[in-house]
């Protein structure tokens, strides 16, 4: 592998891992915020326990999202300094706004929500989770504005070999960014919905304690998953309208169209191979579409079944399948992401800067050491976190430590088990 391929692999693994955690975070945050709103309004103890249980799973997932996310942010300058030097004056603006206007508040209020449980006024505590949720959306929005610029640059001028932003409004209104934002948001709700339904189905099948809590959660999960699947697919369809010509040609598989797109790029940029890797584009696109078909069929069926109380209580085959469905939205998210990002190749900024030009002047040894270190650490941490997430999901609301007592109250546990 060449140095640039190592750098690409490192960024792809970091971003891909980050995307998996973000998808569930965005979806679950919304569901937790809605459940907590209901709990705060009604003071219903079931909804309070629901908030704590799903909130606990949300936080386990969130922690890994932060770790991958901050490494990703620093990798831009670390391994892609060619990109930040060439295009930093444009998409760097939306990255800066993301950190300051969105993530700063998200992080601050998440700390307030986690550690302020039973300490803050309950309305203030509810406000905290809503700020976390809405700033998470804002964060996704500004990241996709940055990504949209790389996919389809607008509102810039090229002067002295670097890009300058000339129209901030155009960059924000970029259809490639707008459509992707709503598509990803929908996908996150699908992921959160199937997760909630699948975990609830596990507890209903095993007839654990808290059957009422999990019947309610299952209905919320399925109730969100079906419309979210349709919404996401619709936006995904709109997204096909914003594909770059080369990606659209490769996806169509039409040899004449591919040749025409390639010829057009050669005419504009000189000799070279301007086509994205066909295998990856097709694999990503097909994964996404097959997963959509499965999710659409299954969430439709589930939406009917959940109307029948005996099915919710005891249709174990359905419970099994719901639990098995948990990974499918993640697969669809990854497929869609591969389709979008591989389809941009060989460009880092479409039509303006190639991925090879975007790379920092790093040696192969530096890249190998860095890649090995990050992959090893993240592989161990991701496996650990998913095992812990599964464990916390299995153990149910009885074992949740989040918000179980005022933060400063003396512990009742013996010191050794702390």
């Amino acid at each position: 592998m060449e140095t640039v391929d190592l750098a690409r692999l490192q960024f792809a693994l970091t971003a891909g891992a980050h995307f998996l955690f973000v998808a569930l975070t965005l979806g679950l945050a919304t569901l937790v915020a809605v459940v907590q709103t209901w709990a705060t309004l009604t003071r219903n103890p079931v909804h309070l326990r629901m908030t704590r249980f799903w909130g606990q799973l949300y936080i386990i997932n969130y922690a890994m999202g932060i770790a991958t996310g901050l490494v990703m942010e620093f990798q831009l300058g670390l391994t892609w300094s060619g990109l930040t030097e060439f295009a930093g004056n444009t998409f760097g603006a939306s990255l800066a706004i993301e950190t300051l206007v969105a993530f700063f508040l998200e992080s601050t209020f998440l700390g307030l929500w986690i550690f302020g449980w039973n300490k803050l006024n309950r309305w203030a505590h509810l406000a905290a989770i809503w700020v976390v949720t809405l700033t998470a959306y804002a964060s996704a929005f500004w990241i996709l504005v940055s990504n949209g610029f790389l996919q389809h640059p607008v509102g810039y001028e090229l002067a002295d070999g670097v890009l300058r932003l000339t129209d901030f409004g155009a960059m924000v209104a970029n259809p490639t960014a707008q459509v992707a934002f709503f598509h990803v948001l929908g996908g996150a709700m699908v992921t959160g919905g199937f997760f909630m339904a699948g975990v609830s189905a596990y507890h209903l099948r095993r007839r654990t304690a808290e059957q009422d809590l999990f019947r309610k959660s299952l209905r919320i999960g399925v109730g969100v998953a079906l419309p979210a699947t349709l919404f996401t697919a619709t936006l995904g369809g709109l997204g096909f309208e914003t594909l770059q010509p080369t990606k659209a040609a490769v996806w169509s598989g039409d040899a004449a169209r591919i040749a025409a797109a390639q010829a057009e790029m050669v005419a504009a940029h000189g000799p070279g191979d301007y086509l994205p890797p066909s295998g990856w584009v097709h694999a990503g696109g097909l994964t996404m579409m097959i997963a959509f078909a499965v999710m659409f069929f299954f969430s439709g069926l589930s939406a009917v079944l959940m109307l029948f109380r005996p099915a919710v209580r005891g249709l174990r085959v359905w419970h099994w399948l719901l639990t098995l469905m948990i990974p499918v939205p993640f697969l669809a998210m990854l497929g869609g992401w591969v389709f979008r990002e591989m389809g941009r190749q060989p460009w880092a900024v479409y039509g303006l800067l190639t991925t090879a030009e975007a790379m920092s002047p790093l040696t192969e040894t530096q890249m190998r050491v860095s890649l090995t270190a990050f992959v090893t650490v993240f592989a161990v941490l991701i496996v650990t976190n998913y095992l812990l997430l599964a464990r916390a999901a299995r153990r149910g609301p009885g074992a949740v430590t989040l918000g179980d007592r005022p933060i400063d109250a003396p512990s009742t546990e013996p010191a050794l088990s702390l």
Partner: protein
């Protein structure tokens, strides 16, 4: 003006995030068993998310206002930035994971990750700052780096002395003697600010053309950011009386 924006977030990180690093470094000294360590961690627990985000914002400010410097600074110091990031991940994961399972060995392992990660962070910052400040590379840079790490550690002790009670508080106050906990904290914070300012003066800080758009946005939103942090500080202004969620 752009320089002040960068300085605000970078120095904010050094002072606020620096205290978390210092507490992590001195964790084995402050907490002698699992229970004590959990209480020491409660001193920083409600703050660490809101503190590390100052560094994320510093990177954001660099990306938006000083994109050329961002690339040079990070890719030019890859041998320091990679350990810095790995240490950061190890420290955070230690904080999150230590309480997820019962068992002395599990918690001991992640407490170790917190300590190693915090030392890694302090030393990486030390190497990076001594490179920028003194132009030192290689093993010789470890001498000033150790000094910087000591400042972080002292700052952490000063913060812990302000947050903890009883014996833990006395251990944390070992260096301040009778001079007052708040004064010690002010002193260590000033030392970190001083190092940060001196390093900043050595950087080629020429803002990019996007500054005209971005700086007013940042200036407008900054009071809101500070207010949100102030709410956290106010909520957790009392001394720690027991373990937290972590």
């Amino acid at each position: 003006m752009e320089i002040f924006v960068l300085a605000f977030f970078a120095l904010g990180y050094l002072v606020l995030g620096g205290a978390d690093i210092g507490v992590g470094m001195t964790l084995p000294y402050l907490g002698r068993d699992g229970g004590e360590r959990r209480e020491v961690i409660a001193a920083i627990a409600p703050f660490f998310l809101g503190n590390e985000v100052w560094l994320v914002s510093t990177a954001g400010v660099l990306a938006g206002l000083f994109p050329e410097l961002e690339g040079e600074l990070l890719s030019g110091n890859v041998a320091v930035v990679v350990p810095l990031l790995l240490s950061w991940v190890a420290r955070d994961m230690g904080l999150w994971l230590r309480g997820r399972l019962p068992g002395v060995r599990w918690q001991g392992f992640w407490d170790g990750a917190i300590v190693a990660g915090s030392w890694g962070l302090a030393l990486s910052w030390g190497v990076l700052l001594s490179d920028v400040l003194l132009g030192l590379h290689g093993p010789v840079a470890l001498v000033p780096a150790l000094l910087v790490a000591v400042v972080f550690g002292t700052h952490g002790l000063a913060f812990a002395a302000l947050r903890l009670r009883g014996e833990l508080r006395q251990r944390a106050a070992v260096l301040s003697g009778g001079s007052g906990e708040a004064r010690t904290y002010a002193l260590t914070a000033a030392a970190l600010v001083g190092i940060g300012v001196l390093a900043g003066l050595r950087l080629p800080l020429t803002a990019g053309p996007t500054a005209a758009l971005l700086t007013p946005v940042i200036l407008a939103v900054t009071p809101l950011l500070v207010a949100s942090q102030a709410w956290v500080w106010w909520t957790f202004r009392h001394r720690v009386t027991g373990p937290s969620y972590l």
